[in-house]
C-alpha cells in the first residue's frame, strides 16, 4: 500500500544492514533482547522433561539425559521478534522436530500443535510449520547452554515465525486436530505470526474465519 504520509526530517539513523533483508517494520539488533510476560522460571535439568503427545501413535517423554542423547544439529538462523527487532545469523545446537516427530508418529488427523511451557506459557502453531527442517528444540545458543532468560534449558525455535511462537522453557508439544489460541494469541496476537506478512495482531491475520473467529 502506498503511504503518502512522511515525517519531515526523519531519516534512517544507521546504514541498512548489509546482505540481510528485514521483514517490514523490523530493525536489526546485535543484542538479544528478552521478552516474557512474567518471572523467568529456573528449571533444574535434573527435574526437566519434555513430552511429545496428543494425536500421535506413540507418545514420547524424555528426561534431560535421554533428550541430549538424541541426534543434535548445528543451526544458523535469523530471528524476528514482534516487538520489532530482528537478529541475523544466530547460532544454535539442538534437536530437529523432524527427529522427534519421526519417533512419535503424528496421526492422520493431527494438524496443529500447542506448545506448553514451564511457567504456564502456551503458543499454537500449525504442525506443517514444525516439519521439513523448519523447527528445532534449541539447547545451546552461541555454543553455550541456553540462559534461563532466553528460555533455557530448552526452547522451541521456529525461526520463520515471530519469535513468541518459539516458546521458551518448553515442556510439552501436544498435537491437535484443531487450532486453538495460546497465551499471547488469546491476548489479541496473530494466530500464525508470519513476519514477512507482518501478522503481528489478530487483525493482521489473512483469514480470520480460518483462525477460528
Amino acid at each position: 500500500m502506498q503511504n503518502p504520509f512522511f515525517n519531515r526530517g526523519f531519516q534512517r539513523k544507521r546504514p541498512a544492514p548489509t546482505g540481510h533483508v528485514l521483514p517490514p517494520g523490523q530493525y536489526e539488533t546485535q543484542d538479544f533482547p528478552v521478552l516474557s510476560a512474567g518471572p523467568t522460571p529456573r528449571i533444574a535439568t535434573a527435574k526437566w522433561s519434555f513430552a511429545l503427545d496428543g494425536l500421535v501413535e506413540t507418545p514420547q517423554k524424555w528426561n534431560w539425559a535421554e533428550f541430549n542423547a538424541l541426534p543434535h544439529q548445528d543451526l544458523t538462523v535469523d530471528i524476528h521478534c514482534v516487538t520489532q527487532w530482528s537478529k541475523f545469523g544466530t547460532t544454535w545446537q539442538g534437536v530437529s522436530l523432524d527427529t522427534l516427530l519421526a519417533l512419535a508418529g503424528p496421526k492422520q488427523e493431527a494438524r496443529y500443535v500447542m506448545a506448553h511451557c514451564y511457567g504456564g506459557y502456551t503458543t499454537n502453531l500449525p504442525l506443517a510449520d514444525l516439519t521439513g527442517g523448519k523447527a528445532f528444540i534449541g539447547l545451546l545458543y552461541d555454543g553455550k547452554p541456553l540462559a534461563p532468560e532466553h528460555g533455557g534449558p530448552a526452547r522451541l525455535v521456529v525461526p520463520h515465525l515471530y519469535f513468541w511462537k518459539s516458546a521458551k522453557w518448553i515442556q510439552r508439544l501436544e498435537l491437535l486436530a484443531d487450532d486453538a489460541p495460546g497465551f499471547w494469541e488469546r491476548a489479541g496476537y496473530s494466530m500464525y505470526g508470519d513476519p514477512w506478512k507482518e501478522q503481528r495482531y489478530r487483525d493482521d491475520d489473512e483469514d480470520q474465519a480460518a483462525a477460528g473467529l
Binding site: 534512517r12 543484542d31 510476560a37 523467568t40 532468560e149
Partner: protein, 246 residues
C-alpha cells in the same frame, strides 16, 4: 475503525518531564479506551519511504478521552526516540496504532487487592497509567511504587507522584537513587535488591499483585526475588523495555 489500524495523531502539547524525557500529548481521530499498562506503536516514515516502528506505553489513564499521552526517554543514538525528542513539535502529525497488549494491564475495581509496582527509569510510564487510573477511580487499595532512578534529575512525574503520596495514605512512593541522591536524603541509595523488595511487599500487604517494568536486568532481579519471597509467578507481571542490559 479497528483499534489496530494506523491513524494519524496530532501532537497537541509537549511537556518536558526531565532533561532526557518528554511527554507528547496526542489527539487521536479514532480514540478507543485503553487499559492501564497497554502501549501504542509509533511508526516514522522518511521521505524516501524508510520506516521505523517502536512501542510506547500510554502514560495517561483511560479516563482521559480522545487523546493519549506518551512519555519518551531520549536514548543515546536512538533512531525513533531521537527524532521524537528533537524533531517533533506541537501541530506535527505522527502515525500510531493501538492500544496493544492484554497482559501487562491493571483494572481499578472496588475489589482490587494490594498492588506493588516496581519501575526502573522510563519503565515507570505504564505504571503511571495504572496510578492515574487508580487515582481517578477513587479507590484506596494499598499501593506501593518502588522506583529506581539514577539521580534526582531523572525522576519522571516527580511532582505528581509526591502529590499523590501526600494526599493518599494508601499510596506509598519509595524512591531509590543509584548514582547520587538529593541532599539530606535518608531513603534508599542502591539498586533494587531483595531487602528493598521485602520492605515494599510488607508495605503493600499480603500477596500483592506485582507489575515490574524497566531494563531487562532490573526486571529479572525484581521478578526472581519476589518469587523467592513466596509471591506466586501468576501474580508477577513484567514488561521489559530495552535490549540494554544496564
Amino acid at each position: 475503525m479497528s483499534a489496530l489500524q494506523w491513524q494519524l495523531a496530532t501532537v497537541t502539547a509537549l511537556r518536558p518531564e526531565t532533561p532526557r524525557v518528554k511527554t507528547f500529548v496526542l489527539h487521536l481521530p479514532y480514540w478507543t479506551p485503553h487499559r492501564a499498562g497497554q502501549h501504542y506503536t509509533v511508526r516514522l516514515t522518511a521521505p524516501d519511504g524508510y520506516q521505523a516502528q517502536r512501542s510506547y506505553s500510554v502514560a495517561s489513564p483511560p479516563e482521559q478521552t480522545s487523546q493519549i499521552e506518551l512519555t519518551v526517554e531520549l536514548i543515546e543514538e536512538g533512531e525513533v526516540s531521537g527524532y521524537l525528542f528533537e524533531g517533533v513539535t506541537v501541530g506535527d502529525q505522527l502515525e500510531v496504532r493501538g492500544p496493544i497488549g492484554g497482559y501487562f494491564v491493571w483494572e481499578a475495581t472496588p475489589l482490587a487487592g494490594p498492588l506493588l509496582l516496581v519501575a526502573g527509569g522510563s519503565g515507570v510510564v505504564p505504571l503511571m497509567a495504572m496510578l492515574r487510573h487508580r487515582h481517578r477511580s477513587g479507590i484506596h487499595n494499598a499501593t506501593v511504587l518502588l522506583y529506581s532512578v539514577r539521580t534526582p534529575d531523572d525522576v519522571i512525574f516527580y511532582e505528581e507522584l509526591a502529590r499523590m503520596a501526600a494526599a493518599d495514605a494508601t499510596f506509598t512512593l519509595l524512591l531509590t537513587y543509584t548514582r547520587h541522591s538529593p541532599a539530606n536524603w535518608s531513603g534508599y541509595q542502591r539498586r533494587i535488591d531483595a531487602a528493598m523488595l521485602a520492605e515494599a511487599v510488607k508495605l503493600a500487604g499480603s500477596s500483592p499483585q506485582c507489575f515490574i517494568c524497566g531494563p531487562t536486568s532490573l526486571v529479572e532481579t525484581a521478578a526472581s526475588s519476589l518469587q523467592a519471597q513466596g509471591i506466586p509467578p501468576v501474580s508477577i507481571r513484567t514488561e521489559r523495555f530495552g535490549p540494554s542490559g544496564t
